[in-house]
């Protein structure tokens, strides 16, 4: 092996890994983050704070309340039963169900069976979910209360969720968080390490040495490529062992796509560092890339719903392709066509990023 590259490897590893705090950040923090975001984040509508107002003796309304709480979607609202509107405004309740005065059963007999539902619509996704759940609970209670009129189900919707039958949130989130962590760490490490050489002046030593441009570039990037791949494996280990994610599409496909992706992000990090003169600028530059990159990856928000211009940008986003690859390889069996198509585009982006960073890098050298 080229002794210069070997020297770079040894130097970068001892610089990055000497500080024990840095080791923690590099290897323990991603695991902690994966755990936090894999467990904590979901858009599921749960734990709805519900307050129910009914006149004493209204057994039907009472039954609806019990049913709601038993469904697992609702929890009782906090605080005393004050004015319903104020209770929602202050956040002690998220939804309030109000039965007609004089009892629900009597109102139904008069054909005036109306329940009023007040929902906090600050978060409209939750508001809609709450309405939907409430409707389902009420229908259930009604059909139980009047067995004579029980409707035969005329149409059965046989809904099957493939690849994630348990609808586990972690299956959704973990591939996305993997993409995010790998992207953030590799880009930041690469761009800041190069910017640091410029900031403290050691870049001059590299430039004054009788070595080729590509040797400097490879020497400065290869260590982070290796660290990035180690990180990928650690994160994969946590994803599979703790979250029980499958690897249905073949390990080699996973490794190959990860490798191409890390090549891309490391090159982008290099590109950013050629534009920055200190570490703070490198960090901001990285962020200006990563932020849209993460948001336009389809990790949290569906790309299909975005305006055409943003969809166009998303098609240039390496994170989008890597996410598609990860989900397909881990959960969906790694369809060959999907694999080669997405990997091809990702590789093309990687080649462009490498070429661009090499060109910019040579310009900064001269």
């Amino acid at each position: 092996m080229n002794p210069t590259i070997k020297g770079f490897l040894r130097k970068e590893f001892s610089q990055t890994l000497r500080d024990p705090r840095m080791r923690v950040f590099l290897f323990v923090a991603p695991i902690a983050q994966l755990l936090i975001f894999g467990y904590a984040i979901s858009t599921e509508v749960r734990n709805i704070r519900l307050g129910v107002y009914f006149s004493p003796g209204d057994t039907l309304a009472q039954r609806i309340e019990q049913r709601c709480l038993a469904s697992g979607w609702f929890v009782p609202a906090m605080g005393p039963g004050e004015d319903p509107y104020r209770r929602i405004q202050s956040g002690r309740a998220e939804a309030v169900l109000i039965a007609p005065p004089g009892g629900l059963t009597r109102a139904m007999q008069r054909n005036e069976g109306r329940l009023q539902l007040l929902v906090d619509t600050t978060n409209m996704i939750r508001a809609r979910g709450i309405e939907r759940y409430m409707q389902m609970v009420i229908q259930q209670v009604i059909s139980e209360a009047s067995p004579g009129q029980e409707q035969k189900p005329v149409l059965n919707l046989n809904l099957r969720v493939l690849y994630n039958p348990g609808m586990q949130t972690s299956f959704f989130m973990v591939p996305g968080v993997m993409v995010m962590l790998v992207c953030i760490l590799t880009i930041l490490m690469t761009s800041m390490s190069l910017a640091r050489e410029k900031e403290i002046g050691t870049f001059e030593t590299l430039v004054a040495a009788p070595i080729r441009d590509w040797e400097i570039l490879l020497g400065k990037t290869l260590p982070f490529l290796i660290l990035g791949m180690i990180l990928v494996l650690i994160i994969l280990g946590v994803a599979m062992l703790i979250f029980g994610l499958p690897m249905t599409g073949g390990f080699w496909k996973f490794i190959l796509s990860s490798f191409v992706f890390v090549c891309t992000t490391v090159s982008i990090g290099t590109l950013i560092s050629t534009l920055a003169c200190n570490q703070q600028q490198a960090m901001m530059g990285s962020f200006l890339f990563m932020f849209p990159g993460i948001l336009l990856s389809g990790m949290m928000f569906p790309i299909e719903n975005m305006p055409p211009m943003l969809i166009g940008i998303a098609y240039l986003n390496p994170l989008k392709y890597f996410l598609t690859l990860l989900r397909n390889i881990m959960l969906k069996g790694g369809n060959d066509q999907v694999f080669w198509n997405n990997l091809g585009i990702l590789a093309l982006i990687a080649v462009i990023a490498i070429a661009a960073s090499f060109k910019r890098f040579r310009q900064t050298l001269n």
Binding site: R10, T202, A208, A209, N366
Partner: protein, 309 residues
Amino acid sequence: MRKQAWAVEVKELTIRFGDFTAVDNISFAVKPGEIFGFLGANGAGKTTTIRTLCGLLVPTSGSARVAGLDFKSGVQALKSKVGYMSQRFTLYNDLTISENMAFAASLRKLKPGVLQSRTRELFKFVEFDYPVKTLVKNLPGGIKQQLSLAASLLHNPEIVFLDEPTAGVSPVIRNKFWALIRKLARAGKTMFVTTHYLQEAEECNRIALMREGRIIALDTPQRLKTQAFPEPLIEINPEVGGSRQWVEKLKLDPRIGCIQPYGRRYHVLIQNQAGWKKVARTMPKSLKTRPIQPSLEDVFIRLVEGGRT
């Protein structure tokens, strides 16, 4: 092979950055084994010239041969023949001494065995005896400079370029460092040193004075002095405060060339001996005068003043 080749030979070298001309048509040559000083204020073009000679910048026009190589024969070959110690501290603070040396060696593709023996040799030479496992950031400033020098000598270069090697170190360390530079020159290395300390320039075999991208003088320190001051220089030591008026009077005297304040004293440049004797007779006893050797500072001021008119 010519025996008496120049170590560095620069002809009509010009370097421009956009509209700004950093180095303006300079020519000079450096002998092997010489301590060659580059003297000038900040921004005079010293660092730009050095960086060009080390192969870090491409000249706009003109030619330069360093260690018998010019730019056409490839920058890489040139870089491997020279050692360069930049103005900024270029070792890694977060690596140990031995790690820094190992990395410097890998940049030059030295074999591990060569690294071992060279490091031992160099550390002995520069009298460096810190444990090699010490982190560089824990070393005192002057020691760091020594280590920097050792690192730039690792590949046994023929010519060593030192860009302001003693900026910001104590006078004691500075003297020690210059002793090292002399030692290296005696060992046959060509030492190319920039500085803006005039005292230091006295140590060089020859010095080039740079101003605004041009070389305004180039010679041995001694000859520079005699050339710049064909007439002797007189120092006036005004012991009594009131004699200040006399100095003002002297300034107007047509027989006096110029007067420069020098601390509490004044350096007076006279036009000829006969004229000075007449002036001296009229001066009060409290003004002590004596003829002195011009320092490089006088030379510098003279040349720069001359350049302005």
